[in-house]
Symmetry: C2
Subunit: 199 residues, 2 copies
């Protein structure tokens, strides 16, 4: 009757990530998780330790995905800023129709969790800072391609972009109009080739 062949770690983490991403940490029950990843409690706890342990792996997996997506857009391009804009549209608009949630899983996590789960909270913050650093690296490349003035502060700009992305993806949950979001992203990347004019 049982199957009991060894589970595929990669597949399991993917499925767990999608469920956690959609429902959040608290609203995801181990029972539901068991069905989705097709594992029994004993196996789950032997492999991941706890509900928190599996969530931690899910967070890491999500961040890896995000960084990979960012890399795909920006490598082998002579317009890092254009690539960044494409990345924004891809993440904000396309993924609304395919991903478990329009929102960033890391933002959902820091939004939901409190000090009652301080380790997971800290881990989500850490991963967000890694992504922000990655944005900064791309802005640095933009400088080297002459898309950004040497006098620009990439740290500040990366922080600003990160904040905008959080806002866009949260706002995306309040509307069904892709056109609206497209316009908002165009507003962020105002001038060709770049940027929030101002400063």
């Amino acid at each position: 009757m049982p199957k009991a062949t060894r589970f595929d770690h990669q597949t399991v983490v993917e499925k767990a990530t999608n469920l956690y991403w959609e429902k959040g940490f608290h609203a995801t029950s181990m029972r539901h998780l068991q069905e989705v990843i097709d594992m029994r409690p004993g196996s789950i706890y032997a492999s991941f330790g706890s509900k928190e342990g599996l969530f931690r792996e899910a967070l890491q997996h999500y961040a890896d995905l995000s960084l990979a997506q960012l890399a795909i857009h920006t490598q082998n391009t002579d317009s890092p800023v254009g690539a960044l804009k494409m990345f924004f549209k891809s993440v904000v608009i396309d993924s609304r129709h395919t991903a478990p949630s329009s929102m960033c899983m890391l933002v959902k996590t820091i939004s939901e969790l409190t000090d009652d789960n301080s380790e997971l909270l800290a881990e989500a913050k850490r991963l967000l800072s890694v992504i922000e650093q990655s944005l900064q690296d791309i802005l640095q490349k933009a400088k080297e391609h002459g898309e950004l003035s040497e006098s620009e502060n990439t740290t500040r700009l990366a922080r600003y972009l990160q904040m905008q992305l959080m806002g866009l993806r949260a706002y995306a949950r309040t509307t069904d109009s892709d056109a609206l979001l497209t316009q908002m992203i165009d507003d962020i990347f105002v001038h060709e080739p770049f940027l929030l004019k101002s400063r």
Copy 2:
């Protein structure tokens, strides 16, 4: 031993709002709620119907607070834009040290909830749109005070500000530096007296 004097509806909703705001819907247990609002299950269910019913009242109360705060800042001023900026700083920075969460309770709610609680989700979205409309009204006043060009699209600008506020308050959860957030708000309201340059 018991007290059994009639409960104060206003106070109870305030306390419930603060707990829901901090913990979110799912992580707030009725047991904890009972302690905080000092009511027994029977009374709660007689007055509010369910955990969802009380949460609905909390959402409404939160939105009322937000609108009142916005009104206080903007009435009796000849610089609606300046008032808007003050409002942003007050909400993003000050409330980090006083409020249950740096994040907007409505954004936390649309972030956490799924179609499993579609009524509450819809209500949170509705209240967000009310606030966005209120932002638009202030931008209209800014036009009348000559702070904003008549050609500006207030609908679009209000949407943009709403998105920025969502982003700022989410980002606020990732840092302890008030200076950073102050700078970001200054960046949003770039030119004296106003606005994201560009369009």
